[in-house]
């Protein structure tokens, strides 16, 4: 019964699940595509450097995929909340709703992973060509067609989707049947203790890894540094609401002073709902932290060993990071769109009490700017910590190399995707009919 319902829901809801499909597809493609290249380069010593980079980028993709898929699935669950409420009201238990959502997500995950495997072959060929022409790889990278990478992708897709679906399902069953009709704005606790414990453990793990980076063998330094960044990201996104309330409150007060009409609701929403704001800030933090660590670790390593890259080779690392950034842009877009979509009623109400169209645009932009800035600041801090440790490992000094241009581009891409996500998600309610309810 559940599986039939899940299959039908997926079929009738293709558009709503498109983002989740794309996210899983990309993860499967990146993982199996990198796997094909690694399998091809397996036996050749001159390719060991590039192999390490590929394995790392595949691992980062898998890690990020959990967040991206969780975000897109949550958006789907949020959009369908009337369906869940309806199913609950006709007698479905919360456990059954949870299973239904997981089943829907798994249908999408299996289909997307299969599609990702198909696309992995041209992706691997493209990457091989890219690595050769840029000179990042010392020799030709053959694409070896073995089953291993495909099996890995078929496991990774559903594997990252399962925890993500669990998170999304918990949100859906948190909604009581009647709550949908009259959205309760009861404040959630700023930091429930399980979240605080997870955050503290991840943060402590990250600090231990940071301390380990200069101690371990040089080969293990970069993976340890990336590991530290990942752990710190998990910790910061768990504990982030506290930081967001403080930083968001201060920036919000400034905005409320500059632009009182649009700023007052912005500030209030950041101070009262820092967890909602953090869910939009997290992907920005993740993108900035991971991309900076990856990008500037290469630059720091090059500087330490006296390598100066020129021409296409200088752009190889940024471009590899670029493809990962495109992936996280999905999650930034999705997360800001989601936090704004939750507030359809509120925006409609702001319009009925006389908020003008331009004031509304300013309010949406201010809030997104503050949230993405906080995310970028946290991400920068995390990357700086990991890079300092890596620099210490490479040169013995607390120092690292970075490019202001690449950094600025990265932050701008995040801010621009946040703004477009927020403006697109609110377009309908900003311009549509102003009738109360539906």
């Amino acid at each position: 019964m559940i599986s039939t319902l899940a299959w039908n829901n997926v079929r009738t809801n293709r558009l709503g699940l498109a983002a989740s499909f794309a996210a899983v597809l990309l993860a499967a493609m990146l993982v199996s595509g990198s796997g094909l290249l690694v399998a091809g380069a397996d036996t050749r010593d001159e390719l060991s450097d590039i192999m390490g980079l590929l394995v790392l980028s595949a691992a980062v993709s898998g890690f990020v995929a959990v967040f991206v898929v969780a975000g897109t699935l949550s958006m789907h669950v949020l959009r369908q909340r009337r369906t869940w409420a309806l199913l609950r009201s006709v007698g479905m238990t919360s456990r059954q709703v949870s299973r239904l959502i997981t089943a829907e997500a798994m249908v999408v995950a299996v289909l997307a992973s299969a599609a990702g495997c198909v696309l992995a072959v041209p992706y691997a060929a493209l990457m091989a060509g890219f690595l050769r022409t840029t000179g990042l790889a010392a020799a030709d990278v053959p694409v070896e067609m073995t089953t291993g990478p495909f099996i890995l992708a078929l496991v990774t897709g559903p594997g990252v989707t399962l925890p993500a679906a669990r998170v999304a399902a918990r949100k859906a069953i948190g909604v009581r049947p009647l709550e949908v009709l009259r959205e309760s704005a009861a404040q959630r606790r700023l930091l429930p203790w399980p979240r605080a414990v997870v955050g503290a453990i991840a943060l402590a793990g990250g600090i231990v890894l940071l301390w380990l980076v200069p101690q371990v063998k040089p080969v293990a330094a970069v993976p340890a540094g990336l590991g530290a960044t990942m752990a710190l990201c998990v910790g910061a996104s768990a504990l982030g609401p506290v930081a967001l309330r403080v930083m968001g409150g201060a920036l919000g007060a400034l905005v409320a002073w500059i632009d009182p009409g649009a700023g007052m609701p912005v500030r209030a929403s950041l101070v009262t709902q820092p967890r909602r704001a953090m869910s939009a800030a997290s992907p920005v933090m993740l993108t900035v932290a991971l991309a900076c660590t990856f990008l500037f670790a290469v630059a720091t390593g090059d500087a330490a060993t006296g390598i100066t890259r020129t021409g296409p080779s200088a752009w190889a690392a940024p471009m590899m990071v670029g493809s990962a950034v495109i992936y996280t842009v999905i999650s930034v877009l999705n997360a800001t769109a989601m936090t704004m979509a939750e507030r359809t009623e509120e925006i409609r109400l702001l319009r009925t009490v006389g908020t003008g169209p331009r004031q509304l645009v300013r309010a949406v932009c201010w809030e997104t700017l503050i949230v993405t800035s906080v995310g970028a600041l946290l991400g920068t801090g995390i990357a700086a910590a990991s890079l300092t440790a890596l620099g210490k490992a490479a040169t013995g000094e607390a120092w690292f190399a970075y490019s202001p241009l690449q950094y600025a581009t990265l932050v701008l891409v995040c801010v621009a995707s946040g703004l477009s996500g927020a403006l697109a998600a609110t377009w309908k309610v900003r311009h549509g009919p102003l009738l109360p309810g539906d």
Partner: protein
């Protein structure tokens, strides 16, 4: 200046098109008297909510004119409509009247802040006390009961001294006792401040507070009663069914 706060002239509103076309309002002409309390009644689907939405500028009629203080609001651009809602019209809904993240005080002063005005704090405090919310200025909507939220919405609407205050089933989500308090407040706004109030309701007990009751059926005004009793209203509603 006419003696009508809001004047509807040949207002028609249809939804959908072709075979699924539904006429919610057909050529409605009516003037809501300044300083009067008017209730709009009718069976569901009669167009009473559409009437309120068109009259308050939340929806645009397909044809006809809606004049608020003599100005035809159907021709206004979105920006001008926003200013109209901010300064000249107050609206109260059945539920979700307040911005959840703002305190009662902030919700009340929101329209003024949107207009970059600073309302006199003593006046705001007095108004909140007037609606029975003294001491609750810093509470957020989630910390207030449904009736209290509704009274914050009334205070917000009254602060700007609007031309007209529209209320769409304001007691629909409240229990009887709380609903009575809200109705008493609307009545006082009319009697003491000369406020114009237009209220859509299906409850004869609410409608009986009004000076005038409009009955709508199939998008047309079919009857108008002045100061009717509950029994008259009940009889009128039953007779139509």
């Amino acid at each position: 200046m006419s003696d009508h706060a809001v004047l509807l002239q040949g207002v028609t509103r249809t939804y959908g098109s072709g075979a699924t076309e539904v006429a919610a309002l057909r050529q409605v002409d009516h003037g809501f008297p300044r300083g009067g309390f008017t209730a709009v009644m009718g069976p569901s689907g009669s167009g009473k909510s559409t009437l309120l939405q068109c009259a308050s500028g939340l929806d645009r009629p397909d044809s006809g004119a809606v004049r608020v203080a003599g100005q035809d609001i159907t021709r206004l651009a979105e920006n001008e409509l926003a200013v109209l809602r901010r300064d000249r019209i107050g609206v109260i809904f059945q539920s979700f009247n307040l911005v959840p993240s703002l305190t009662a005080w902030q919700n009340v002063i929101l329209p003024s802040r949107l207009a970059r005005r600073r309302p006199d704090p003593a006046h705001v405090r007095g108004l909140l006390a007037r609606v029975g919310l003294a001491g609750r200025e810093r509470h957020r909507p989630a910390q207030l009961s449904g009736g209290q939220q509704q009274r914050v919405a009334i205070a917000r609407a009254l602060l700007g001294r609007p031309e007209v205050l529209f209320a769409d089933e304001p007691t629909g989500a409240l229990d009887r006792g709380t609903g009575r308090q809200v109705l008493a407040l609307l009545r006082e706004a009319v009697d003491e401040f000369g406020q114009t109030v237009v209220m859509v309701t299906h409850d004869p007990e609410a409608a009986v507070r009004a000076d005038q009751v409009l009955f709508l059926t199939d998008g047309r005004i079919v009857d108008i009663l002045d100061r009717p009793s509950t029994a008259q209203i009940g009889a009128r509603l039953d007779g139509r069914r």
